[in-house]
Symmetry: C2
Subunit: 904 residues, 2 copies
């Protein structure tokens, strides 16, 4: 099959060729280089092997197919014409870099090889034709090391230790101090390593070098770290990477050469300023890898004014072109600037909102474009805890202050020190908060960074791996803390002059770079604390069509929800009210008194009544408070839902207690009591509680509970009306699968409500509705809608039953494996499964609206706070989504984006 | 609202009025009386209050609304004109009966009152105008007793004991021997009982009598026994009953009077002969209640030739009219015959097939009508065990023979004697087989009869309550065993001259009426043993469109399935093969060796390989045998499905064992071993195993198991081909929810299959398909069908997930209550839920066929053997249904009926 398509596919595009869909065809880097070439920016000549070739490479048993290789060779010829150099020529050799470039940016995840084309002969030619021996051999030793690592898979530290040895011997501080002699020696020793490790000499044929390097870049798409990155960032495995082959320009050529990274705006604060770093006499990898600490880009304004202003000019051109802040890589060879990459700048949430709002003021983009520039899930970072600056806390902070590093990713974190990324994951799984403390991070540390609440490194700048990745994850990060020294052996470190053991607690402020010993008091900012965020959310509110409600079970959560912009409560779970210390015993008494196991007749009936009355008392107060907070706003109150066993101790715990008593020969009252409870627990035990006696089924079997809750809601509402408030309760019946369940409970509910209305001589308005959380409810929504004023999609349970996944079981037993194997591209409990669950929702909405055109439709599953799911909800035509209070701002923005993007 | 509709509804129809939809309007009895009137048969004049009035009665707070009462009064006037008598007239009083009559026949379930209109005055008028004092007072005492029971709710035994006392004192054998004086005394004593029990005199106003009697009949629709009957027979509560008011004719008038019940054909054997019973000088209730043992109807051929031939004539007319065998009630008043009821005759399964086939031969009905006359679920009775008549068993039977009674309902049963219907239910719930032994049965015994394997009574004839109900239930029953005497006090009985204690075992043959002590050897007949059944099934096979396959996991079951007419195996559950004594240890070793808990490395890997190989050996043999039996027929083999914990001991059992060891201070190897297993059991424990790691999820996590099973299937198939057979395996992947699950496993399966094909140099043909048992599979069937050659609907699980019902939990916790409350009309695990599950199937079928027009579609859930569900499957356009082997004949007939009835 591959032969057939080969003949028609154009596998390679030179940067100066124009084409459609550049990004998906050429990958991000290739597209950026081509775009910059087209708009006249200085880019070295080069070409891109398209992303589709990656799949072809796999199908061809992990070898480049001939057709693709031929296209590469033709384009190498073109490069030779453009550069007037010849690849592999011993006198005037063309050197190239081979760089990965996937459709979605995966910074540092995949491999790059620079200086290809060098061998024992061409290094001499380079030396003659260009900047001399030292430069040529410096390039050669870089090439051997990088090629060995990427293509030959020889560990880098073997090469590093040779470098370190020579630097130590000569007392050099940096690589740039190496003399020609040193470098020559290094090259020889490097070649010996290669011989020793591979049993063959370092490959001298430039075309072999090229072919293997291209294959290595394709292969790096499948590296563990790249897989991990894609899994965390939900990037499809099937995209593949492109390969860019670019004529080398040399930042290590001479004193007037160097390399840098620049952002068009400050990626931490969003300030409109050129921000970045520059390292002279260096190649690109030196900056990113944090090998030497670079100079700030602003220092160029004095030291190299022309270069600086050219960068500023280019940065404006690129922002105007892309309508977004850019992250650029460049190299200066003998005072001439070359652009090597441009891409949308990764930025902090704060920078994200500031840049978006500023660019609207600057007339660069529209409000809608501005809303679309922000990742909704990230604005939560602006509401993450930060350390309190209140007077009393400030003095504590002063006492606890140890040292500062670079403020690489904003936010504050408190946690136990761990030194190993895998241990970070283990600790997180134990429920611990940890701070990952490392010398520097590498792509192999990703899983540990993901598991930590914050990251602290000794080396690296604001664009080092740790900084870039932490910002991407929204985690506080401090890099370049020079006073940090780690003693891996003894599992301890020093910061400043203090020593910390594994698991000692520290606090880090990624916004200021400050490090504190112990736990600092944290405060949680509100959206209104950030002016630009308020602006963005206002724009979002005037754009979005979906209502944004919140899930809240307490007055505190309800207040928070309102503060964060919620327009109602979409899910108030009443059973959460039963777990309080003074309440649970009554609930347990109720359960024990309804059990068919107990047989103390009248007494049981009395206890039953007593517990119902007691719970009524509690519930009136509960509903009074929450409806008061939510004055004038709807509150969807769900009647009791979970299986009763959740209110009793677990079988496992009870049996252990009982045997402990027995083994200690205790025969007392406690044992009897435990055995009584065990009998009930056994009696109500279910094989699959998720599909058992819960939801409306409970209400139908124990109508007194429903009656009690209804009475409590109506009584609370009446009381509030008397006090001049306007409560809007909506009573929701859970787990309905057949309309007759709803009919039976609705009747009971209306009866109980009229009793209260008659007694209190008031008629509060309220709605009665149901959750749609079973496939059968969705399929028979037409029947159900005749008896309901609203539907609320319980997509957590609907996902469980539609997929036949028990959430707990699935997530711990096979869901990860499913995602790794590509069977599921996302976790359906996180992002709504549009094809399955979404389809059932569609059926329910169409059938429901058909038989009840006034039907109010919402979603109260956790998907209500997930932007991708919110887009689906918008497209389905829901009236509102309900999210947890802290997700409300996220949902407001996501709903606005849904409105904008579904217009297209 | 009731006022509004009242004005237009005609609440009452006289028998001579014609109308549409008589049965649903008038109920069975009313419709029969009207039909017989219209075709000129002798029916006393009367009228019917329509079934809809029953609902109106409820809505009017359990009182007859005025409008209905007025219609009744008008019709009473008409009756007076027709009979030339006057209701309540003291000289020539019109008497009436008030009789229930629902749409679906519920024999004996509801109430009837005879002789209405009698009081202290009219009894004198009756005496003068008709057959004298004794007859008039006999009618009066009957009336008081019946009215008191039905309307005043006074227990009958109070009246019975007065009757018994007088009979004993005078040494009368039967009621008919009572003298006028006796009866007068009885009437007075009866009236005293009424005064004592109700505090009022027996109501003398005939119109009060009438009104209350009508209301009592309506109310009897809601009696416990009627509710129970409807629940068992799945009759809707909302149908309601009609009330028939008929001018009395008197079977107790004189020596030339009597009453009887006759079947147009023998309801036990199906023989074409008038069959029934006749009791002279009696009223109808005497026969049905089994108060006196009646004469056989054939005796009339000699004693009253004219009457007999008139009955024969009428029976032919009715069969010709209804095209079905009839069950008639009649009364003879002074040699004049009156028909009081006709309805389709309840009959044994044997009679049912014989009558149907005979009526085709007689040219009375078509083959299609004949197929439709038989209840498919009942033909199984023809394959129920009967006692062996082999020589060696015969001698045992002779020794064990005790006595005989009437062969009231055919079939053989062995069980423990119980005397109390409630105890029968309790014993059944303990898994015991019981025979209910009673003096006679009444409608209050229904639940006990349902729970028993057979029924034996001392009194009653072939049309007694016990006989009629047992035949309806398809249970063996012997009635009228005169030598049976029950000592309830001491919980024992004598039969013949033997005494039996509670729980002693007896065997009863309902076909012969024989009773044996101990357990008789039973044999199970095949359909071909009954000629008429073979004929019916042949006709069914040539009529039906659905294929009939069977669920079978063993060669024995598969043979049985073929014998019973199965055309393939629709579900072969491979995991059932793992539970054998010599197999389970290997399965357990496999599970233990895959667990992440165990850590003995290499050894674990070895054990894993060893158990896989061992299981391969077993499975090759398993598949070889079943495919051999099913030569030339498809066998759908489902890959391993259940959660692994099912192969290990339960947590509860383990923990008890461990603590027992500990409490006995045992520290040995056993304890270690138990704790090892417990650790694994804890590790693989799931909150909701039904929604957990099972089905294809297992296969994806443990591909070696799937590979092993595939290898076994293909190896077995190759072996059979070499031996000249034609195996047709279809490999089924369970619990698919996303097509990518199927893709991954299909690839593995194809790989493994080609390995076998290559090794054995044979290419067996096989199919790969999937179960559709999750809502998501149904919703995304278009994607799935692209990768499947067949779908098999696993409606057990599909019902669980669509409803969110865990089958075990739901059935034990709330499903009964749901059915009692009318929330569900049927158990969705028994009869397919057409609105929910059926709708999902429809979606799956449409989407599946759209993307794969060759898709083979079947059902393997238990619904495949349920006639109502089979009709749904037919209408959905499935290719086949698969049922348990013993349900195959049921399914063949039901599928034929589906073809016939869906033509309409």
């Amino acid at each position: 099959m591959s032969q057939k398509t080969d003949s028609v596919i154009k596998w390679v595009y030179a940067f100066d060729e124009k084409t459609e869909n550049m990004n998906s065809l050429l990958g991000g880097k290739g597209a950026g280089l081509a775009e910059m070439t087209h708009i006249g920016l200085p880019v070295p000549p080069g070409f891109t092997v398209i992303t589709k070739a990656c799949k072809e490479f796999i199908n061809n048993n992990y070898h480049i197919p001939d057709s693709i290789w031929q296209d590469i060779l033709i384009n190498i010829k073109k490069l030779e014409l453009l550069t007037n150099k010849t690849y592999g020529d011993v006198n005037n050799p063309l050197l190239v870099s081979v760089r990965s470039g996937s459709v979605v940016s995966m910074p540092g995840m995949m491999d790059t090889v620079l200086n290809l084309g060098l061998n024992d002969q061409t290094v001499l030619g380079l030396s003659k034709s260009s900047g001399g021996e030292k430069f040529a051999y410096d390039s050669y030793r870089r090439f051997i090391q990088m090629y060995s690592k990427v293509v030959l898979e020889i560990a880098s530290d073997k090469f590093e230790s040779i470098l370190d040895e020579i630097k130590l011997k000569n007392n050099y501080q940096s690589d740039s101090q190496l003399e020609f002699n040193d470098i020559q020696k290094i090259v020889n020793q490097f070649k010996e390593i290669v011989l020793a490790e591979t049993g063959s000499d370092f490959p001298q044929d430039p075309y072999t070098q090229l072919k293997l390097a291209v294959e290595a870049v394709f292969l790096s798409w499948f590296s563990d770290r790249a897989d991990e990155y894609r899994r965390i960032n939900e990037i499809s495995d099937s995209l593949g990477t492109a390969v860019n082959i670019v004529a080398m320009v040399f930042g290590n050529r001479d004193q007037n050469s160097g390399t840098g990274v620049a952002f068009t705006r400050n990626p931490s604060t969003g300030t409109k300023e050129l921000f970045g770093e520059y390292l002279d006499i260096a190649q690109g990898e030196d900056v990113v890898a944090g090998i030497r600490t670079p100079k700030s880009i602003s220092s160029l304004e004095e030291s190299n004014k022309d270069l600086y202003s050219e960068l500023v000019k280019i940065s404006k051109i690129l922002e105007g072109h892309y309508k977004d802040a850019q992250d650029m890589e460049f190299t200066v060879e003998s005072n001439k600037l070359y652009m090597l990459q441009t891409r949308s700048a990764k930025r902090s949430a704060l920078a994200s909102v500031k840049i978006s709002v500023d660019m609207v003021s600057e007339g660069l983009i529209s409000k809608e474009e501005s809303l679309n520039l922000i990742d909704p899930t990230r604005i939560n970072e602006l509401m993450l805890p930060k350390f309190s600056d209140e007077e009393e806390d400030l003095s504590l902070k002063c006492k606890a202050y140890i040292d500062s590093g670079l403020n690489a990713s904003p936010g504050a974190a408190v946690g136990k020190i761990v030194f190993d990324p895998t241990e970070a994951v283990e600790m997180k799984n134990l429920g611990e908060k940890v701070i990952l403390v490392r010398d520097e991070t590498s792509p192999d540390d990703i899983h540990g960074m993901h598991a930590s609440t914050g990251v602290l490194t000794a080396k690296g700048g604001a664009t080092s791996h740790a900084a870039v990745v932490a910002r991407g994850m929204g985690k506080p990060c401090i890099t370049g803390c020079d006073s940090l020294h780690i003693d891996q052996q003894n599992k301890r470190c020093t910061i400043g002059n203090q020593t910390f053991q594994l698991y000692d607690i520290i606090s880090i402020d990624g916004s200021s770079g400050e490090i504190f010993t112990g736990t600092m008091k944290t405060i949680t900012p509100s959206p209104s604390d950030t002016k630009e965020l308020s602006t963005i959310l206002e724009w979002a509110d005037s754009t979005r069509k979906l209502g944004i409600w919140a899930n809240a079970d307490t007055p505190e959560d309800a207040s928070k929800a309102i503060e964060l912009g919620a327009e109602g409560i979409g899910l108030c779970r009443t059973e959460h009210m039963f777990f309080g210390e003074e309440r649970l015993p009554w609930v347990q008494q109720l359960i024990m008194s309804t059990s068919s196991i107990s047989t103390n007749g009248n007494n049981q009936q009395n206890k039953y009544q007593e517990s119902i009355l007691k719970m009524l008392e509690f519930q009136i107060q509960d509903f009074y408070e929450i409806l008061k907070v939510m004055d004038n706003k709807p509150v969807v109150i769900r009647l009791i839902d979970p299986p009763l066993h959740e209110f009793l101790p677990s079988y496992e715990k009870l049996i252990d207690q009982i045997y402990e008593e027995k083994m200690n020969n205790n025969q007392g009252e406690l044992l009897d009591q435990l055995e009584d409870i065990l009998a009930i627990v056994k009696d109500i035990k279910e094989s699959n509680p998720m599909l058992g006696l819960r939801g409306c089924r409970l209400g139908i079997l124990y109508p007194d509970i429903v009656a009690m809750q209804t009475k409590a809601i109506l009584t609370a509402a009446c009381q509030l009306i008397k006090e001049g408030n306007n409560p809007i309760p909506e009573i929701m019946i859970p787990l309905v699968g057949d309309y007759r369940e709803l009919v039976v409970l609705k009747e009971l509910l209306l009866q109980e409500a009229s009793k209260v209305e008659e007694e209190l001589q008031l008629k509060p308005s309220y709605k009665i509705g149901t959750m749609i959380e079973l496939p059968r409810a969705a399929i028979t929504a037409d029947d159900i809608a005749k008896h309901a004023q609203f539907f609320s999609f319980g997509t957590n349970d609907l996902t469980q039953t539609t997929y036949g996944f028990s959430r707990d079981d699935a997530e711990s037993k096979f869901l990860n494996e499913y995602q790794e194997k590509g069977i599921l591209s996302t976790n359906p409990f996180k992002t709504l499964d549009e094809k399955g669950v979404g389809q059932l929702m569609k059926i329910a909405i169409e059938k429901g609206r058909l038989s009840n055109s006034d039907l109010e439709l919402g979603i109260c599953g956790e998907h209500g706070g997930d932007p991708k799911s919110i887009l689906i909800c918008h497209n389905l035509g829901l009236n509102y989504v309900s999210a947890s209070p802290y997700r409300v701002p996220v949902a407001r923005l996501a709903a606005a984006q849904a409105t904008i993007n579904s217009k297209n």
